[in-house]
Symmetry: C2
Subunit: 343 residues, 2 copies
């Protein structure tokens, strides 16, 4: 299986987030990608760089003003004399307007964001764009006949919506891959999101569409980030009614219960009979993850990969979360090897 | 003029906010109230404590679930093993649901908040409740015949809406005072907000009412906090259509231009012919304010007070912002003395 990786991910570095009353370097840190890359190389995977894609590829799933904001945000920040990482100080939350984009950079940043844990640094755009290109390249490999391909995306993408960023995500790599598959002959595409956190951005993007099925298994938003999307009663709207399916699970869920939800999710995917599958592959379901609360063990990831392979659908794997840095590699490699083992 | 003050304000202390990439103690700090109190004592104002009011007084302008959240939030935070100050990590901003309150404390906090600069500490509820009682007591003084009364409220209140907190504000002291006046014989009440920042919370509370006029002069939300409310096209809705008026002004506004907006605002208030007036008295319009950008000088605050007195309406002053700590006292005293000078 081809692995697509760009060293540009490392430019997204130096931001901090608030954790237990202290400002700490983001859990979403460059070494995450390094550990995954090392493990995949050790396992013999062939690693290649991304191709280039026109900016218009991004506009297939994202708002043009939003993309322009991401592209220019840090330059605008520096232009008004600020430095370091950018975090918004106010949001269009309850009781506030959402119909006007403020002119100043602070207000604009709040308009496009939904949390204060997703810093933008000088290199964020370069890294996010490279991650998007990795996902598009992996999708291209599958269009060109590969059974599976893996995009080592960093920053991750599944929290980024049509015109919002947050949850360490800027551009929605998985949604871009799914749209690329749609635009290149795949009539029906499913996205299965197995990250610990709900893929609110992907759901937002495909909410009213019936050509892309979105299925997510995640920690319940009653207690887990992103709190305001990912409940079981969300099933899509309009044309998309019935094409969004959420499987929220309680904190502490271990493999025995997880696999029941996974099998139900896979049945849903199978029932849709997609021509291609995108897996939003977060491994923060791991018992050692510092910010999540499922109890999957390293030995379970190959089992997940096998089950995915049983669907028999060409599959693009897109890296999402996972913060137990030193164990990321084995868990990701486990899924991919499990997938390949089932020929 | 009677001054109402409670030492309980000091219990709201120890929180931090993000400022230029560093976590710093909140600009809204206990010494603010100490400096104001000192200056007013020096000027010979009589200082008294607040009366007690039943919890139901708060529910005249706030949502019951919101008040219960504020009352129990820090205990709930400690109950799940956390300590220190609470800041939310995700908000129901654009693309997310606002119709469900998450069960866990992190999600619930994000649901009720609209920024990540308003920490809740163990003593926040005691302080916010005492500030509300100060405002209600000052309103009672006016109901009982005083021409003017001043509530030294801390934390401030004008950013707190019917069911949201933010901008250093938890309970809306000015709205509570206005409602108290309405409930005790004053048929028409005006709120004039002269804080540097738009009083989004007060506007939210009275948006659909014609018995309380809300008028605000403030830094334009195009560039200034709270960014998502306070534009000139916001004029109320339903019954309240025409009873909200905003005067946004650009950064750098000095007295010469400020006074034009002030006079227009006073004309609007006068035209409403209210039986009582509440002034949301922020003095962060001061040239020395560290987080604001108007250019009013200490000598202008008595002029503001005189102009307010010219209306000839019984007036409750409620302290809002102002962060140039050592100059707060003279600026606040200036307004009150200017008001009293015009007999
Ligand atoms: Zn995650
Ligand atoms: Zn203010």
């Amino acid at each position: 299986m081809k692995v697509v990786h760009s060293p540009l991910h490392a430019r997204h570095d130096g931001g901090k987030e608030l954790h237990r009353g202290e400002l700490v370097p983001c859990f979403e840190m460059p070494s995450r990608a390094d550990f995954i890359l090392q493990a995949l190389r050790r396992e013999g995977f062939a690693v290649g760089g991304p191709r280039e894609f026109p900016l218009e590829s991004l506009l297939r799933v994202h708002d043009a003003g939003f993309v322009e904001f991401l592209r220019t945000a840090h330059a605008e920040w520096r232009a008004v004399g600020k430095e370091g990482f950018m975090l918004p100080s106010g949001f269009p939350a309850r009781s506030l307007r959402r119909d006007h984009i403020p002119a100043g950079i602070n207000g604009k940043m709040g308009y496009y964001a939904f949390d204060a844990s997703t810093p933008i640094v000088e290199g964020t755009w370069d890294a996010a764009l490279a991650a998007a290109h990795c996902a598009l390249t992996a999708a291209a490999h599958v269009v060109e006949g590969e059974r599976g391909a893996y995009a080592l995306c960093r920053p991750p993408g599944h929290h980024a919506g049509h015109a919002v960023y947050g949850g360490y995500c800027f551009l929605n790599n998985a949604a871009l891959a799914a749209q690329y598959l749609r635009d290149h002959g795949k009539k029906r595409v499913a996205v299965l999101d197995v990250d610990y956190h709900h893929g609110n951005g992907t759901q937002d993007i495909f909410w009213e569409r019936s050509d892309v099925l979105f299925v997510s298994i995640h920690g319940t938003p009653e207690t887990e980030y992103p709190y305001f999307l990912g409940y079981a009663d969300e099933r899509g709207a309009g044309e998309g009614e019935g094409y969004t399916r959420n499987f929220p699970l309680p904190r502490g869920t271990a493999w025995a219960e997880y696999v029941t939800a996974l099998d139900a999710a896979l049945d849903t995917v199978g029932g849709f009979a997609p021509d291609a599958l995108v897996v939003s592959l977060g491994v923060d379901t791991y018992e050692g993850d510092p910010i999540s609360a499922f109890k999957l063990e390293t030995r379970h990831y190959p089992l997940m990969g096998e089950r995915l392979a049983r669907l028999g659908i060409p599959t693009v794997f897109v890296q999402e979360g996972g913060y137990a840095v030193e164990d990321l590699g084995s868990n990701v490699a486990g899924v991919l090897k499990g997938f390949l083992a089932r020929g």
